[in-house]
């Protein structure tokens, strides 16, 4: 009886400490919604899967977060300060693009509709016109120089 008392006390102490010590070494999860995301894709809309991503806080020169896009070319993060966050994407083969995210109270004030993109057909017609125009002028000027 006397000999068992220290063991009983030790067991009681361990039981008393256990609930305090366990959370310090454990992880727990909770559902979370919101955050900012970016989808990265090539010209033909093929997703830029597993491309390197660096996230820069407002005014920061060093990335505060690095990672990769998922297989669908998506990347999400949660800004913790207000301002313009820069998300830099690099696929490792020479292709890259910056993406800017405005968070905090300024977000709703500065959020604006993206500028309308020129259609591909318009771009092709414009480009071909300029190519033949540029080389046409070059030929004309060279011909005039030759005659002069």
């Amino acid at each position: 009886m006397i000999a068992g008392r220290p063991a009983l006390l030790a067991a009681a102490a361990w039981l008393a400490m256990a609930p305090v010590a366990a959370p310090a070494h454990g992880l727990h999860t909770a559902p979370l919604s919101g955050g900012e995301g970016v989808r990265v894709a090539y010209d033909d809309d093929e997703p830029a899967s597993f491309a390197d991503v660096q996230v820069f806080a407002p005014g920061g020169a060093q990335p505060v977060l690095t990672g990769v896009t998922d297989r669908n070319g998506c990347f999400l993060f949660r800004p913790d300060t207000a301002g313009v966050w820069k998300v830099s994407i690099d696929d490792g083969m020479g292709h890259g693009a910056p993406h800017f995210v405005t968070s905090g109270p300024a977000a709703s004030a500065t959020a604006a509709a993206p500028p309308p993109r020129r259609s591909k057909a318009q771009g092709v017609v414009t480009g071909l016109s300029l190519i033949f125009g540029v080389f046409g002028w070059a030929a004309f000027l060279r011909q005039r120089t030759k005659r002069g």
Partner: protein, 207 residues
């Protein structure tokens, strides 16, 4: 295979711009008035080719055709591709203005090299199969050389050469096949209907 803005270092951008400017100057000097429409046509083909996506097996590739441009233009491939790349950067945001020199060098130099290496073989081939094979080789080789140059440019910026080379090779094998086939068929057609088009040196301006 356009390099985007913000990827390469300043010295690489500057070196690429200087070399590309030298190539454009030589190309303009050698471009005769008679060869100008052909140069414009190939610039237009290159400009549009990267917008055409060709389904090839499980992947979807876009044409480059810098080898075809090189075979038909010689040194004039530099001004042709410089104008096309400038317009692609301005109209479609492919590449960018600061990387225009590097992109011109990446695309035009392989075209010039395959012209110097295989131009004579294409012109001198006696059978259709030989012409087609030489054209295929020129098209595929120019894409491979562009990949090598891109890997070098990225490696000069501090990236691992072998890692980038492996990823680029895997991504561009389908492009090499597509470009090789299209270049082969184009060269074969020109060899039959207008062989003089395969001799850009014959249309160059006298020095």
């Amino acid at each position: 295979m356009h390099v985007s803005e913000g990827i390469l270092t300043g010295p690489v951008l500057a070196g690429g711009a200087v070399l590309a400017a030298a190539g454009v100057a030589i190309g303009l000097r050698r471009m005769s008035v008679e060869a100008t429409p052909r140069t414009a046509m190939l610039a237009a083909v290159f400009f549009v080719a990267s917008l055409i996506h060709v389904p090839l097996g499980p992947s979807n590739v876009h044409l480059i055709l810098n080898g075809l441009a090189g075979l038909l233009l010689g040194w004039s491939v530099f001004p042709a591709l410089a104008v096309a790349l400038l317009l692609q950067a301005m109209l479609f945001q492919f590449g960018g203005l600061t990387v225009l020199g590097v992109n011109t060098l990446l695309m035009a130099l392989p075209g010039l090299l395959v012209y110097l290496a295989l131009g004579r073989a294409v012109r001198g081939a006696r059978t259709s199969a030989a012409v087609f094979a030489a054209g295929c080789a020129a098209g595929a080789l120019s894409v491979a050389l562009a990949g090598v140059l891109l890997t070098l440019a990225l490696a000069l910026g501090g990236r691992g050469f072998l890692g980038v080379a492996g990823a680029l090779l895997a991504a561009h094998v389908p492009v090499m096949v597509a470009d090789g086939l299209v270049t082969g068929f184009c060269v074969l057609l020109l060899h039959k209907v207008r062989p003089s088009a395969l001799d850009p040196a014959g249309a160059e301006a006298p020095p």
